[in-house]
């Protein structure tokens, strides 16, 4: 039956910050689709978010932590050998792989944990796929002396065992999730279930621009530093704007983090989803490209679902992209044609992974490798005076096991 809502076509003048509305709607997307037990918590969170986050005291502390703890600003690096190898546009890498814990996720967890502290909550929970968000949450929990539980599918526990050990060392409890596909989607289900029971004293740190309002806008707010820095850096370095921005899209937080600052600029933005073993095999995570509108994990957005509205299993070699949902703002940006969404399969990502290793001495996360792979395709067909900025969302240390197992 598959309900494909009418997309809003060709809105030329997209205004950054115009979305979401006060109840978290990005056009028809977003919102708050949760059980009543959680609603008061979300309303409380929304209120706290609106009151606390704009406060200069909060902003000061947040910025200080980003700088002194997380290691911001991260560099914008011109990947000369990669660009020359491809033979086309200049490829710049925004080096989120260099922040503390090794992925952009820390920007967000610092923000949410600071907020949690100011709200008086001393217990954090989080879901995690690749383990990066789990590590980033466990990290800020340690930093602030909070209790931390991380929900993680047993399939992901297997393939990201180093991150599991890191979380435990940081003092977090890692709770194995054995339901469903035993990956990120189910970890999030289980985190929400736990939250329902512990909502009074527990802050749920969601790891992407997904989930019910205010998470998508809040996570975007905490990640927008990526794009703010990038814009300033590229203007300073080249005197102009890039021609294209590229980021991988799992839930979509590193992409939104990069894109937001450029939303009103005349440039192309591309979100790269994971095509897994290939779209034709059905084993992929191409939510925006192949999914349809639905409601999952508290918000309306594109989802991978069958004709009865049952959520489908996603597949990707990269645990962080292996998710059948996507942040609601991306659904709007897709419908508005403001961002182009494409996909890269496991093999292409793996090739880009190796290319970046041997050409630039950078071992990227498999998630980020998807963005690099697409950048290589695009750069080749573009003139040499164009500039492509890729968000290198994380480092690949966590993926060494997967890479060596991949034949």
């Amino acid at each position: 039956m598959g309900n494909k809502e009418k997309p809003i076509q060709n809105i030329k003048q997209f205004k950054a910050g115009e979305y979401p509305d006060s109840r978290g709607h990005f056009g028809v997307y977003g919102g708050r689709y949760v059980g009543e037990t959680l609603m008061p918590a979300l309303l409380e969170l929304d209120e706290a978010y609106n009151k606390i986050v704009p406060d200069p005291g909060f902003q000061d502390e947040f910025k200080r932590l980003l700088r002194n703890y997380a290691g911001r600003p991260t560099p914008l690096f011109y990947a000369k050998r990669l660009s020359e190898h491809v033979g086309g546009a200049f490829i710049y890498l925004k080096r989120e792989d260099l922040v503390h814990t090794g992925a952009h996720k820390i920007n967000n967890t610092l923000g949410q944990a600071l907020l949690a502290r100011r709200m008086g909550k001393k217990k954090l929970i989080a879901e995690t796929g690749a383990g990066q968000h789990g590590v980033a949450t466990a990290t800020v929990a340690a930093l602030f002396g909070m209790e931390c539980r991380v929900f993680m599918g047993t399939e992901d526990i297997q393939r990201q065992s180093a991150n599991v050990q890191r979380m435990k060392l940081l003092g977090a409890e890692v709770i194995p999730v054995t339901s469903g596909t035993m990956t990120l989607k189910d970890a999030m289900n289980e985190a929400m279930r736990f939250w329902v029971g512990a909502v009074r004293d527990t802050f749920y740190v969601i790891g992407s621009v997904a989930g019910p309002h205010p998470y998508p806008v809040m996570v975007r707010e905490f990640q927008k530093v990526i794009g703010n820095e990038t814009r300033e850096q590229i203007l300073k370095r080249t005197g102009g704007l890039p021609n294209m921005l590229i980021a991988c899209v799992g839930g979509g937080s590193n992409a939104m983090g990069l894109f937001l600052a450029f939303m009103n600029d005349p440039l192309e933005m591309v979100g790269v989803e994971a095509a897994g073993k290939g779209i034709e095999t059905g084993k992929h995570a191409v939510t925006l490209g192949e999914g349809s509108v639905g409601v999952l994990h508290g918000s309306k957005s594109y989802v991978l679902q069958d004709e009865n509205g049952q959520i489908q299993e996603a597949h990707s070699i990269s645990a962080g992209l292996d998710y059948p949902g996507v942040g609601p703002e991306h659904s709007l940006l897709k419908d508005l044609n403001r961002v182009r969404y494409v996909s890269i399969d496991d093999e292409q990502a793996m090739e880009a992974f190796h290319a970046l290793c041997v050409l630039e001495g950078i071992i990227p996360a498999l998630e980020s490798s998807h963005a690099v792979a697409y950048a290589m395709l695009e750069a080749k067909r573009r003139p040499i005076n164009e500039i492509i900025v890729v968000n290198l969302s994380g480092r690949g240390d966590k993926d060494l096991g997967i890479v060596s197992a991949y034949n």
Binding site: M39, S179, N308
Partner: protein
């Protein structure tokens, strides 16, 4: 008067409370599910909550998660549940409330759903993850008051919000007895009295209490203060423990009988 209102009216006159039973439609399989539910309806169940299973039941504990899996495995989807409703409607006159997450309905299409559910003989719908803030998109196509929108009140819901929710609800209010997912063990009746009192101060609707109710004593305790008692996981657990038992329908019918007695005991 619609079936739900009439049921509560009748029970009030009999000085009984409603026994509301939740079952995942199609668990353990479609035909056996119809047998079980029919038997239960005929053994004293006052209201049936017929669960439309969803792949990602984030508000449910392990028992209903497993029950949903079995149901999905047996081929259930919303169309099948509506077909089952149609068949049950021929066997029983008690109100049938569909109980679903929003995505299956959204996928089916809200207008088609309203039309087909009414036509199948359903009396209302409870959508677990569709709070009042978002529910217009489902109800804006509804006409008249014949199809009830059952709403949840949680232990975390403050008074002003209770009033707001009650205003847009119909049929009855489902008061969640615990901060937690379905089936969470143990019941703390102390708190519930206060909650019911608060809720009564803002609504005239009947109040049914559910989540974590599993013993006859629980039922009796809740029945003494609420207008109805909702049992879900306790039934599902019996199904799970008797998957190969040919007497499953009978066992459940007896259980319903036992619980029903406890709703009359004051």
């Amino acid at each position: 008067m619609n079936r739900i209102d009439k049921t509560f009216e009748d029970l009030r006159q009999k000085k009984e409370k409603a026994l509301v039973g939740f079952l995942s439609a199609g668990d353990p399989n479609i035909s056996e599910s119809l047998n079980i539910i029919t038997a239960m309806c005929k053994s004293g169940l006052d209201i049936l909550e017929l669960g439309v299973s969803f792949s990602d039941p984030t508000a449910d504990g392990p028992v209903i998660q497993r029950s949903s899996s079995r149901a999905l495995q047996s081929g259930v989807n919303l169309a099948v549940v509506l077909e089952m409703t149609r068949k049950l409607r021929m066997e029983t006159h008690i109100p049938i409330i569909l109980f679903s997450y929003y995505n299956p309905i959204h996928s089916y299409g809200v207008e088609s759903f309203y039309r087909d559910a009414m036509e199948a003989g359903a009396d209302g719908i409870l959508v677990v993850d569709l709070p009042p803030e978002e529910s217009d998109e489902m109800t804006s196509c509804w006409a008249g008051n014949d199809f009830a929108l059952i709403r949840l009140i949680a232990p975390t819901t403050p008074l002003d919000r209770m009033a707001h929710i009650a205003k847009t609800a119909s049929g009855f209010l489902y008061l969640v007895s615990k901060t937690g997912v379905t089936g969470s063990d143990g019941l703390d009746t102390g708190d519930i009295n206060d909650k019911i009192e608060s809720l009564r101060s803002v609504t005239k609707l009947p109040i049914c209490v559910g989540f974590g109710i599993s013993t006859v004593e629980d039922v009796a305790a809740i029945a003494s203060v609420a207008d109805g008692v909702v049992i879900g996981s306790a039934f599902e657990r019996i199904i799970e423990e008797n998957l190969d038992n040919p007497d499953l329908a009978l066992i459940l019918a007896n259980k319903v009988h036992e619980f029903k007695k406890a709703t009359k005991s004051q």
